[in-house]
């Protein structure tokens, strides 16, 4: 599987489009405005430009989604010198499992979330970019588009900040997109510079023209249609987007809500921008996080404003041009331009917003190009065409309302994203013009809509009709043209071979199927034609009980419940030091986003696993309180798997929910931990019963301790085993060395600690006499220091107390009860067993001892012992037994291990040894 991937990877050739558009001299970074992806055996190339949504190679054959912010070359000239900065999106399955339920609903399969964790690494290797993808922004409560458009566009509704889902802030999205320092001026071969500036303006200008086809809307953003040649329209559009956002970002991040900008501010900001780029990544991201906050608050205000502002916009276009250049030459900016720029930003927001209406269509149209599988193109094309039409027509005003609500900027980007991968699409001028008209109509609508929003609730209905009815008509009239243009596009597009994408996806599907296949195949072997289907999605569960459990009724029952090992105590007493050490270790690793190993040893029942769980609980709590970056915790146990290699399978399943064979899982994990994935949160892995992961080559252990040493892995491994010197005893050097020297050993509990543990568990439930507690803890401390034992004895003592208190007694567990419990658990049954044995068995034991004495050895054959046995029988005045009976007696004693015997096929010659000391036997028999 993975080999297949690498081969594919090699086939893609990445090259910059044009020369560097901007050079950061300090860092020697050269910024580009486009990346060309060329696939071997295919003459067509795909272009990716900042602002596009892209798919990035991820681990385990799933790709990541992100928005490209900038592209640069770090100047080292190596293969991996191409870098890209991105705004991440996460898919649902990338959200840590324990937090998934916070979404509160089932995720849409194509849903992504804006990733807003501040310190995530947004710098990636540009050569990991696979292709572009469409991402649509939807309002939080709007439904997902109909199923036919689902295939390949992704939807954003919410953002994920590591703790909770929240509605995507439009401005935030815009702003993070507007970050790049990429200059506005285009160096694209085909495009003249002014083009895009004017195109900026059109979006603003268009409101004056009412009816336009929706599909052409996006081209209206590059409004150049009236004045320039149109064949190159697409690229210009592409470039324009980041520029616009750039401008927005500038104004936005500087401007505190409601305040005016001074020139100095802007300069500072611009300089800052450069500096920031040249400084560490972390700083950039942090600053961005800061910057993003103020931006969110004014987001509503401009919308209100823009209505009154709209008339001015026409005149703004020229300014706009200057602004676009102005970013390159920051100092030249004039204060009044800045003011205008803020206005511009608003209008921009406006113009982008109105595009939202066409989003379903966009999804539809672009489907062909983003669809993963490789079906015959024809087949795909026909229904699409019709569906475009029907959808247009079928739209009701209310539906429109929904779609308009959708924040727009995403949409433009989607549009761009949809186009860039393929070659430049040639569209006829006529349709262009139409599209411009439609877009202006849309803008008009949008304005009206916003107006309406401002107005009070009761006139909503009226407004709706006023606004939307004409539009509907327009749409109908334009739908024909639109479909024409769509077909035109599709035609040109269908000529584009989409090999890179489809071949990419095809292998990626197979692994998901394989685990399913195996069980599915099994029943088909059975001759019965209709065997019940294999429970592929069987949920592991024990049926629930019909009657509820009874609650503890009295003090003793309460105490027993609290003393059960399984009950989770409020705190873990007596392990404060160990807790602190582990806590500090894990916390520091999580904070730094690094990895490490820790080895924890201690005899069973000393609270190793419990302490680690407690640490994790506290850390999770801290993460929720925002004191710590969130992390994911997974746990494997050497005893809970059938073979050491299953560790991989379990880790993979817990990390990603995937099922795979051990080898495949190992490969996937290896890939996951060795490829950089900046937004990955730290993984804390608890490996319990480490010694059972031992294999002859020790590769499981090796991997477990090797992954944390990788920079990108962000893996913290806590390994638990019983023996302190396990690394020295069973590990080969290279494993032991990777485990490192961070070790901790849990000492067995002392009696005081045990006493404290019981007291804290009982927590003021008075069920024990103090002496009784002390007896238990001293006894256990002397024997093993195992807290489980201690609790079990106490629990048994409460039971004994309960039995006896039915007859008499105070109800408190006293010394006598504890003594009885201790006796039950620790007294050896041998002596009682001998006393309870039958006469013949006792005589046989005597005969064994007699024979041992005679031989002077601790071993005799059955034949020898049996002779003694017959003699003893005669002495005791019993009728002698026959050989068969004697052998049965002997074997019976052997079965309960009073004697140790060889296997019985040796018959007369089987060797007999005592499993108890001779003194014990004699003592037991004398008493009896």
């Amino acid at each position: 599987m993975s080999r297949y991937f690498t081969r594919l990877k090699k086939r893609r050739v990445y090259s910059w489009i044009g020369g560097p558009s901007f050079i950061d001299r300090k860092l020697k970074h050269m910024f580009y405005e486009g990346l060309c992806i060329k696939t071997d055996g295919n003459t067509n190339t795909g272009c990716i430009r900042p602002g596009h949504y892209i798919l990035i190679e991820g681990d385990e054959d799933r790709s990541y989604v992100a928005k490209l912010l900038k592209l640069y070359d770090d100047g080292t000239g190596t293969r991996s010198s191409k870098h890209a900065e991105v705004q991440w999106f996460v898919r649902f399955h990338e959200v840590p499992q324990n937090k998934r339920k916070r979404l509160g609903r089932d995720p849409h399969p194509n849903e992504v979330f804006l990733y807003e964790i501040p310190n995530c690494d947004s710098d990636i290797d540009a050569e990991t970019i696979i292709t572009t993808v469409q991402v649509q922004h939807l309002e939080e409560n709007s439904p997902f588009p109909a199923a036919q458009s689902q295939e390949n566009s992704l939807y954003v509704k919410l953002s994920w900040d590591g703790k909770s889902f929240s509605p995507v802030n439009l401005d935030l999205l815009l702003q993070s997109g507007g970050k790049p320092v990429l200059p506005a001026s285009s160096h694209t071969d085909s495009l003249p510079k002014p083009d895009l500036d004017v195109s900026r303006g059109l979006a603003v200008d268009s409101p004056s023209r009412p009816t336009r086809s929706a599909r052409q809307q996006h081209s209206s953003t590059s409004k150049y249609s009236q004045s320039k040649e149109l064949s190159d329209r697409q690229p210009s559009n592409v470039i324009s987007t980041p520029t616009a956002r750039k401008k927005l970002q500038l104004s936005n991040s500087v401007k505190p809500p409601g305040s005016k900008l001074t020139r100095d501010d802007v300069l500072a900001e611009l300089l800052d921008e450069d500096r920031a780029v040249s400084s560490l990544e972390a700083e950039v991201t942090r600053r961005r996080a800061l910057a993003s906050k103020p931006s969110s608050s004014p987001s509503k205000k401009p919308r209100d404003l823009c209505i009154s502002l709209s008339p001015i916009r026409g005149g703004q276009i020229t300014q706009d041009h200057q602004l676009a250049n102005g970013t390159q030459i920051g100092p030249r900016l004039q204060p009044e331009e800045l003011v205008k720029r803020t206005l511009k930003r608003e209008s921009r927001a406006e113009s982008t917003e109105d595009l939202a209406g066409i989003s379903p269509l966009e999804g539809e149209v672009s489907e062909g190009r983003t669809r993963g599988s490789n079906p015959p193109r024809k087949k795909e094309a026909t229904p699409r065409k019709s569906s475009v039409k029907s959808q247009r027509k079928g739209e009701t005003p209310s539906k429109r309302k929904d779609s308009i609500k959708i924040d727009a900027p995403l949409d433009i980007l989607i549009e761009d994203g949809g186009e860039v991968g393929g070659p430049v699409v040639a569209v006829t001028p006529r349709s262009r013009r139409k599209s411009a008209q439609v877009s202006s109509a849309r803008i008009q609508q949008q304005l009206n809509y916003l107006n309406r929003k401002q107005s009070t609730d009761f006139d909503v209905d009226d407004d709706e009709e006023d606004v939307f009815l004409p539009t509907k008509k327009d749409l109908k009239s334009s739908s024909e043209e639109e479909s024409e243009s769509v077909t035109g596009r599709r035609g040109s597009r269908s000529a584009v071979p989409r090999t890179p994408r489809s071949s990419r996806k095809a292998p990626s599907r197979t692994p998901a199927k394989t685990p399913n296949k195996t069980p599915r195949r099994t029943p088909s072997k059975t001759p019965v034609p209709r065997t019940p289907r294999t429970p592929r999605h069987a949920t592991p569960s024990i049926p629930s009980r019909t009657q509820p459990t009874r609650k503890p009724g009295n003090v003793l029952e309460e105490a027993r419940a609290r003393l059960h090992v399984s009950s989770v105590p409020e705190s873990l007493p007596c392990r404060e030091q160990e807790f602190q050490d582990i806590f500090n270790f894990v916390e520091s690793k999580v904070m730094d986003g690094t990895g490490g190993c820790m080895y924890i040893s201690g005899v069973p029942g000393t609270g190793k696993t419990a302490t680690v769980h407690e640490v994790i609980r506290c850390l999770h709590h801290a993460a929720e309180q925002d004191e710590l970056p969130s992390f994911c915790f997974i746990e494997i146990n050497g005893m809970k798997m059938t073979a050491p290699h299953q560790a991989y399978v379990q880790i993979l399943q817990m990390l990603t929910g995937q099922k795979a064979t051990a080898e495949h899982a190992a490969a996937l994990l290896e890939k996951r931990f060795s490829t950089p994935a900046p937004k990955r949160e730290t993984t804390v892995l608890l490996v319990d019963e480490l010694d059972l992961l031992w294999t002859r080559k020790q590769n499981v252990m090796y991997n477990l301790f090797d992954w944390p040493t990788r920079r990108q892995a962000k893996l913290v491994v806590l390994a638990i085993a019983n023996t302190m010197d396990l690394p020295e005893r069973i590990m080969i050097n290279r494993v032991a060395s990777r485990l490192g020297l961070t070790r901790m050993s849990f000492q067995p509990y002392s009696y005081k600690q045990l006493q404290q543990i019981i007291t804290s568990r009982l927590n003021r439930v008075r069920a024990f006499e103090d002496d009784a507690l002390q007896l238990v803890s001293r006894k256990v401390a002397a024997l093993s220091g195992d807290a489980r034992r201690c609790l079990d004895i106490c629990r048994r003592a409460t039971e004994i107390c309960e039995f006896s208190s039915q007859r008499s007694g105070s109800g408190l567990v006293a010394m006598s009860h504890v003594m009885e419990a201790l006796d039950e658990m620790f007294s050896s049954p041998y002596i009682t067993a001998i006393r309870c044995a039958s006469v013949q068995e006792q005589i046989f034991l005597k005969a064994v001892i007699a024979e041992f004495r005679r031989l002077g050895l601790e071993e005799a054959t059955f034949q020898q012992v049996f002779r003694q046995h017959l003699a003893l029988c005669r002495v005791e005045g019993l009728s002698p037994v026959c050989m068969s009976e004697g052998l049965t007696t002997c074997l019976r004693l052997g079965a309960c291990r009073l004697l140790l015997l060889e296997s019985s096929h040796r018959d007369l010659h089987l060797r007999v040894r005592l499993n108890v000391s001779q003194d014990d036997v004699l003592y037991a028999l004398k008493e009896g």
Binding site: T531, P532, T534, P535, A538, T539, P540, S541, I542, P543, S544, R545, T546, Q547, P548, T549, R550, R560, H564, S566, S567, P604, M639, K640, M641, T642, E689, N722, R788, R789, D792, R795, E799, F803, E824, M825, F826, P829, T832, A833, C836, A837, S838, V839, Q840, Q863, S879, V881, C882, M883, S884, E885, R892, A895, C896, R897, L898, D907, L908, H909
Partner: protein, 434 residues
């Protein structure tokens, strides 16, 4: 008394007998004991309380029932479970999983069996799908999902518990005990074993998770109680279909207990073992002698049954040997005596036999060597002699070292009883040296 009965009465009488026999046979073979097991009240109470807490309170527990074979461990457990399941809401709640170390010889099989008995969702019909690892993960996940208050408690019964301790890594035991010690589905793990040292078999981690509750069943009753048990086992219940027959039968059993010879037989049995199974064996043999013409167990039946029970199997085999084979046995006995139990080969035996033929024998023919070899091989097949080396070692048949699996006393006994044994053979056997 049956002779006086009329024809149709006799028929019903025969039916009564067969019914009584069926009932008693069921008791002896399936360990179905009327009433509570005898003399283990405290253990019974302990186990019952423990299972009740699991069933009612959802408390997880683990316990081992330890006692020699035939001490009534399974009997006790079944009795407790029956009693527990009489309570309706317990019956609805509790799930049972029965495993036996002799059947589930490794964890793979055991896991499938558990999954099957729990009817988890990866079971279709009687088949459990998925690999070993998947099954384990699935089962653990299932148990983990449950919690004390909402899931049905599961009672795991592990018969021949000690054999589970020999499974690789003791994975199954670790997991079961781990579940019993953590807040998951409530489970009660009950192990039945005859090994007193069973705790030493457990690995330290497994041991730490085991609650160390042990119920010892060591059959500490005396002969008087043994007699009681005997009576109880043979008596027919009150609600037997033909009351008159039952009364007669029970009366007979009562008189049987007072019989001197019966008491002797029982005393002998009691001395040799207190195990219920051997008692059942004895009673079974006696019961099978009951027919329409012989409608009650008589003391002679018991005596005969006891004789059968305590018969020496090898002595019986000796009775069926030919004189030649017997001679060879005697030759081997002498060799064993001379060389003090050291092994010997056919050639030595043949020499010894030749000496006997030439010097002392008057009645025994001198057999050809091949005939003697044949006889020797027959003895081998009867396992009265045992080769020292395995079959892989290639030595000539005549020189293969063997050992005699008979004691002198057995040989002498057999000779005494052997029909028409030639006197010179007898003399040869008793003589100190061949």
């Amino acid at each position: 008394m049956s002779k006086r009965k009329s024809k149709e009465n006799c028929l019903t009488h025969g039916e009564c007998i067969s019914q009584a026999q069926r009932m008693l046979r069921e008791r002896f073979c399936h360990q179905k004991i009327p009433g509570k097991p005898f003399g283990v009240e405290s253990q019974h109470k302990h186990l019952l309380e423990l299972l009740k807490r699991t069933a009612v309170h959802g408390e997880s527990n683990s316990v081992l029932i330890v006692g020699p074979r035939g001490a009534g461990k399974t009997m006790l457990l079944n009795c407790v479970l029956n009693e527990l399941l009489e309570v309706k809401h317990v019956q609805e709640n509790v799930l049972q999983v029965q495993l036996n170390g002799l059947l589930q010889t490794d964890d793979r099989i055991a896991l499938k069996e558990i999954t099957r008995q729990l009817h988890l969702e990866n079971v279709v019909g009687d088949k459990v799908f998925g690999s070993f690892a998947e099954n384990l993960a699935f089962l653990l996940e299932a148990l983990k999902k449950g919690d004390r208050s909402s899931s049905r408690p599961v009672v795991f019964i592990l018969d021949e518990f000690d054999l589970f301790a020999h499974h690789k890594n003791q994975t199954l035991l670790y997991n079961l005990f781990d579940v019993s010690q953590s807040a998951q589905t409530p489970v009660a793990v009950i192990g039945l074993t005859c090994r007193l040292d069973v705790l030493e078999l457990l690995e330290k981690r497994v041991k730490s998770r085991f609650s160390h509750r042990q119920i010892h069943l060591l059959s500490s009753f005396r002969f008087k109680q043994y007699l009681e048990i005997f009576k109880m086992q043979l008596s027919l219940p009150e609600d037997f279909t033909d009351r008159r027959f039952a009364e007669e039968w029970n009366q007979n059993i009562k008189s049987l207990c007072e019989d001197r010879s019966v008491e002797d037989v029982l005393q002998k049995h009691f001395c040799s073992s207190k195990d219920f199974r051997s008692l059942h064996m004895l009673l079974m043999l006696a019961l099978s002698r009951v027919t329409v013409s012989h409608p009650a167990i008589k003391p002679t039946d018991l005596l005969e049954a006891s004789r059968l029970c305590t018969m020496d199997s090898k002595a019986n085999i000796l009775h069926g040997l030919s004189v030649l084979e017997l001679c060879l046995i005697i030759a081997m006995k002498h060799l064993s005596d001379i060389y003090d139990g050291e092994p010997f080969n056919f050639q030595m035996v043949h020499n010894e036999f030749q000496k006997f033929i030439q010097r002392k024998s008057h009645s025994v023919h001198n057999f050809e060597k091949p005939v003697v070899i044949k006889a020797f091989e027959h003895l081998h097949q009867l396992e009265l002699i045992k080769p020292m080396e395995g079959p892989s070692v290639r030595t000539q048949k005549e020189y293969q070292l063997v050992k005699l699996l008979l004691d002198n006393s057995q040989i002498m006994d057999a000779l005494q009883k052997y029909p028409q044994c030639p006197t010179d053979v007898k003399q040869w056997a008793t003589s100190a040296f061949g």
